[in-house]
């Protein structure tokens, strides 16, 4: 099949490439419907990654948050029109001792492989997850939800931990979905969000507390903290988290920084903290998110509230518009894909 792949060839320049894609027996063909822009995509688009990285990875299709409908299944297992989320992590071995999204052999759509900005996506059926009765627009946020689910899985479920209070640093999209997943997955847990933008903090209505960074009462109150800040502000956030977390608490790092981050390790040692990094997610994390969202319909409503903009994509110019608008949008920009 001849496919059109919309690849970033250099910062702010997207080109259509034509590829002859092979459809294997294990594959299905998905037509993307909704694609959501992540900060990682935006860093590539704006050329904010190191030049060596850009030289290595481009040309490449961006976007790893996407849902679409099945248009062809050679095995006939999925009816045409089935809404599915595409899992960007590509597990390349079966090492059960390491979760698939942390294996060094794994690949990732929109990092080591083309992302989902394509007319059609041929994808191994093991990497799709049915969305059930979820709406496509909202389901495009399953990927960031699954990243939050991965964090829950690694921090709490795996060790059967039941935290009573959690602090989430960051009032952006990742902070939102992390706070939401923790609130819904851990009944009775008090979730606080700590941010810098009072208007954005108001969106976190499901949280028990919303604090500005200069008003958070730092008296070792949280069992676990999640850093969803990233960038140059990471250091300040992590060090405040270290001050605010209880001894032997779990401090999770989820924000991406292009540069090394200074951390108050003396206090990490003194408090006996566990620092855990979280990145990406597994197929099971996606499935857990679909199950959670179907059992708690209010989650879809919350997610809808952080879709700041929807841009219909019918040309490469529309793609530029979506990425440009995304920079000034409060939360997520979703592309309705009609290419």
């Amino acid at each position: 099949m001849i496919n059109q792949r919309y690849r970033l060839i250099s910062p702010k320049i997207i080109r259509v490439d034509f590829t002859e894609d092979a459809i294997g027996e294990k594959d299905v063909v998905v037509r993307p419907q909704y694609l959501s822009i992540c900060a990682a995509d935006q860093r590539y688009y704006q050329g904010l990654r190191e030049k060596a990285i850009l030289d290595k990875k481009l040309p490449m299709c961006l976007i790893h948050e996407a849902v679409g409908e099945i248009v062809y299944d050679p095995k006939g297992e999925y009816p045409t029109g089935t809404l599915v989320a595409m899992v960007p992590n590509i597990a390349c071995d079966n090492d059960e001792t390491i979760k698939e999204n942390y294996r060094l052999t794994s690949k990732f759509s929109s990092s080591s492989e083309d992302g989902f900005m394509r007319s059609l996506v041929t994808i191994d059926r093991s990497r799709i997850v049915e969305c059930g009765n979820l709406k496509g627009r909202c389901a495009s946020l399953l990927e960031p939800m699954s990243v939050a689910m991965n964090a829950y899985d690694v921090c709490f479920r795996k060790y059967n931990r039941h935290p009573k209070s959690i602090g989430v640093w960051g009032d952006g999209s990742i902070g939102f979905v992390v706070a939401l997943v923790m609130k819904k997955m851990i009944p009775g847990c008090e979730v606080s969000v700590i941010g810098t933008n009072p208007e954005k903090l108001e969106y976190f209505s499901f949280c028990d507390h919303q604090y500005m960074i200069d008003t958070v009462p730092c008296m070792s109150q949280f069992d676990a903290c999640f850093e969803c800040v990233g960038g140059p502000a990471s250091s300040k956030a992590i060090n405040q988290m270290i001050d605010c977390i209880k001894p032997q608490g779990i401090l999770s790092l989820m924000g991406v920084s292009e540069h090394p981050v200074e951390v108050n390790t003396r206090m990490v040692l003194e408090k006996g903290l566990t620092l855990v990094g979280h990145s990406r997610s597994s197929v099971q994390d996606f499935k857990d998110c679909v199950e959670l969202m179907q059992s708690k319909p209010e989650i879809s409503n919350y997610l809808e509230s952080i879709i700041s903009d929807e841009v219909v994509i019918r040309s490469i110019t529309d793609m530029y518009e979506a990425f440009d608008k995304d920079r000034s949008n409060r939360f997520k920009t979703v592309m309705k894909w009609e290419m």
Binding site: M1, I2, F18, E20, D21, K107, L120
Partner: protein
């Protein structure tokens, strides 16, 4: 019902010519025709696909369509006519004989030698045809159009912004297409070089859908070389 009709030959002028028509030549790893059929097979809105081929290439077409697994339940082979419009109409006659025609039925006709057709163009054709009844796919003219009625000197240079280059698909309400075509005189049929003209000649508007510059028609070996140059080989994640 939404039908696609892939026009894979049918010109009487080719009768007796033993050269393989361009639609059977390889583009990447498959014949051009197969790529084009796949584009329509992967659009779930298309209920049935007619592939219209010259009689002498019927069995050959069947063989390659089987070989590349595109001769599915949704695909039907039909023999073409002596002209482009007769070929289109043969498809319509086939539909009428097999399933009947209702006022809601539309047909998306497409050159088999335009394999770079996109899902966006197919969907735009379907949407516009369901709304307006007749659709042509075009791109704005890039080059200046020069008219010469004596083929020697310029008689007119029209304003370019009003001119477009026609591509395919061209899509029509089948019942209206059939009725308008049957009402044409033989002389009128002889001067028709384009199916949309059936509508414009009779004063029926034809809506424009934007094509793409790369939705090229592979008619010369140069085009095939170009097409192969822009196509990357067998990719798989």
């Amino acid at each position: 019902m939404i039908y696609a009709e892939i026009l894979a030959g049918g010109s009487g002028t080719r009768m007796g010519n033993t050269d393989r028509p361009k639609q059977f030549l390889m583009l990447g790893n498959k014949p051009i025709l197969v790529h084009t059929i796949e584009a329509f097979l992967l659009n779930p809105r298309i209920d049935r696909i007619l592939v219209v081929v010259p009689n002498v290439w019927l069995d050959y077409s069947k063989d390659i369509m089987n070989k590349y697994n595109v001769y599915t339940d949704r695909v039907h082979l039909v023999v073409g006519g002596s002209t482009r419009n007769e070929t289109i109409m043969n498809g319509c006659r086939y539909i009428e004989s097999q399933w009947g025609i209702t006022d809601e039925d539309i047909i998306v006709t497409h050159d088999s030698v335009r394999p770079f057709i996109t899902q966006r163009i197919i969907n735009d054709n379907i949407d516009a045809c369901l709304k307006y009844g007749a659709v042509d796919t075009v791109i704005p003219a890039v080059d200046t159009i020069v008219e010469s009625t004596n083929n020697e000197t310029i008689t007119n240079i029209p304003v370019r912004k009003y001119y477009y280059q026609g591509q395919t698909p061209q899509s029509f309400g089948i019942a209206q297409l059939t009725s308008l075509y049957n009402a044409l005189t033989e002389e009128e049929k002889d001067i028709l070089t384009d199916a949309c003209k059936i509508f414009t000649m009779k004063g029926h508007p034809v809506h424009l859908v934007m094509g793409e510059g790369y939705n090229i028609k592979i008619t010369a070996m140069y085009d095939l070389k170009l097409a192969n140059a822009i196509l990357e080989g067998h990719l798989h994640d």
